[in-house]
């Protein structure tokens, strides 16, 4: 569980996060949504420890990140998995090398054990024939799956994804969403996803946090988002005619 207490983050004069508080529970897919410039990426980077908030705290299962020693922070980071927007795979390594990298870095497992683990996670993300290919030789969807495999290979407690299905076709995007949700439940991970994709919101949003201008504007579940009368949320989520109709149908069905 991740508890965020009133965090503030500025860059010079630019006050990006203005007091955001929330709780992300285990085994749930938590989505952070909001317009570009609303502070989503900065929020995620604060959760990852890449940015240090000026005020407020972030607790990982009760441990305040800011109060941890450097060694404890590094250990905690080894319990985090991250799927970057552009996958961020290491160009000079094969698919197998990318997935094996955290194991080589942080474990003393024998080679055969590492190989078994790599094969298992690659199989889990439905990638069986790409072991020896380089990132440049595989599609965007496959790169995302390799990134997910790399993120889960160490059995993380926390999984963070920044726009995991951006640039993917709708079918692959749904596959990636489903995969993240399955993995979250299977490994009982606390998953936080930054997204613009409203399909993801409707499909896997067990908890949705809506940021606007650095503030928490709204939070709730994918079912509650249909019923909310918060104008900022409805303007953002139901900006397309399709989603407006979907919402209308949902409300009519419930009534």
């Amino acid at each position: 569980m991740i508890t965020v207490n009133d965090i503030h983050k500025s860059f010079g004069e630019n006050h990006v996060l203005k007091g955001v508080s929330t709780v992300f529970e285990n085994g749930k897919t938590n989505l952070v949504i909001g317009q570009s410039g609303s502070g989503k990426t900065v929020f995620l980077k604060c959760l990852l420890g890449l940015f240090q908030p000026e005020k407020g705290s972030i607790d990982y299962d009760g441990k305040d990140y800011a109060q941890l020693s450097t060694k404890e922070k590094r250990n905690l980071r080894q319990e985090m998995g991250m799927v970057f927007q552009g996958s961020a795979l290491f160009d000079s390594m094969t698919v197998e090398g990318n997935v094996r990298f955290p194991l080589e870095m942080f474990t003393k497992q024998p080679k055969s054990e590492m190989e078994d683990r790599v094969n298992a996670v690659l199989k889990r993300v439905n990638l069986v024939d790409a072991h020896h290919k380089f990132p440049a030789e595989i599609s965007g969807g496959m790169q995302k799956r390799v990134a997910i495999a790399r993120a889960i290979v160490m059995n993380p407690k926390y999984l963070f994804c920044d726009e995991p299905n951006s640039g993917l076709d709708p079918k692959t995007a749904i596959l990636i969403d489903d995969l993240i949700k399955e993995i979250t439940e299977e490994y009982d991970i606390t998953t936080v996803i930054n997204t613009h994709d409203m399909n993801s919101v409707m499909q896997i949003g067990e908890k949705i946090l809506f940021l606007k201008n650095g503030y928490k504007e709204w939070e709730g579940t994918k079912h509650e988002i249909f019923k909310t009368d918060n104008e900022a949320v409805t303007n953002f989520v139901y900006s397309s005619d399709l989603f407006k109709k979907v919402r209308q149908m949902y409300i009519e069905e419930k009534n």
Partner: protein, 245 residues
């Protein structure tokens, strides 16, 4: 003010490079890869340039020796001194700042742009140690490349001088041994080692802390070449004054 913050940032980076070392098993393969990339990958251009510069120095000296009272073996002496004292350690280092430096800046800069450095940090890897330390260690082998440059430069001078008919083999051999001061070799290698550190770290700094996209990677490579060259030239002056002055 900007320059001061860059110098401070560079010092902090160098300190971070030596903190929290990466596992030796992984570091070993990174170092070998960098030796191959930075040293062996540069030998061709070093040998090519050294040979012809050595030859040109010999020819230029020969053509300017019009006084019959000046011995012809001065051609070999001038070639040796130019190559050992300045050409091999300094001029080759400027070339390496372009070749190796731009490679280092662009490879690290691309990793920054594509969030690969963030990925390392999120995993709890000291990205500076992982990326820069192997380059510094690989560049410790740079003096071997410079030794080759010295040898090939003098060889070029010998071929141009003897086969060009400017002096005899015996003249060249005696000129090479005239007034030889062994400390000049020490001085050249002290310079080389410091330049090696500069070539490994300044381009790394420009790549690691760059912001922006592909265009900025190109700009960072250019800036890193300019600053590496400037620092090498200034350091060359200071070291020459300190060691030979």
């Amino acid at each position: 003010m900007n320059y001061f913050s860059s110098i401070g940032g560079y010092a902090i980076m160098v300190k971070e490079v030596f903190k929290k070392p990466t596992k030796w098993r992984i570091m070993k393969s990174l170092i070998l890869k960098e030796i191959d990339e930075l040293i062996f990958g540069s030998l061709g251009i070093i040998v090519f340039i050294s040979f012809f510069i050595g030859a040109v120095v010999a020819i230029q000296t020969a053509l300017n020796l019009t006084n019959p009272l000046i011995p012809r073996n001065l051609i070999a002496f001038a070639t040796r001194q130019s190559v050992i004292l300045e050409f091999a350690p300094t001029f080759v280092s400027i070339i390496m700042a372009g070749k190796v430096g731009s490679y280092i800046t662009s490879s690290i800069g691309t990793m920054r742009v594509t969030e690969q450095i963030d990925a390392l940090e999120v995993m709890g890897v000291n990205s500076l140690n992982y990326l820069v330390f192997p380059k510094i260690i690989a560049m410790l082998f740079y003096p071997f490349a410079i030794a080759i440059s010295m040898y090939v430069g003098i060889l070029g001078g010998w071929m141009a001088g003897v086969f060009g008919g400017f002096l005899t083999n015996a003249d060249f051999s005696s000129g090479l041994q005239t007034d030889f001061i062994p400390f000049h070799i020490t001085y050249a290698f002290i310079k080389t080692l410091l330049f090696a550190f500069i070539i490994a770290t300044i381009p790394s700094y420009h790549g690691y802390y760059m912001k922006g996209g592909a265009l900025e990677v190109g700009k960072a490579s250019t800036t890193s070449f300019v600053w590496t060259s400037v620092v090498i030239i200034i350091l060359n002056y200071i070291l020459t004054q300190l060691l030979l002055g």
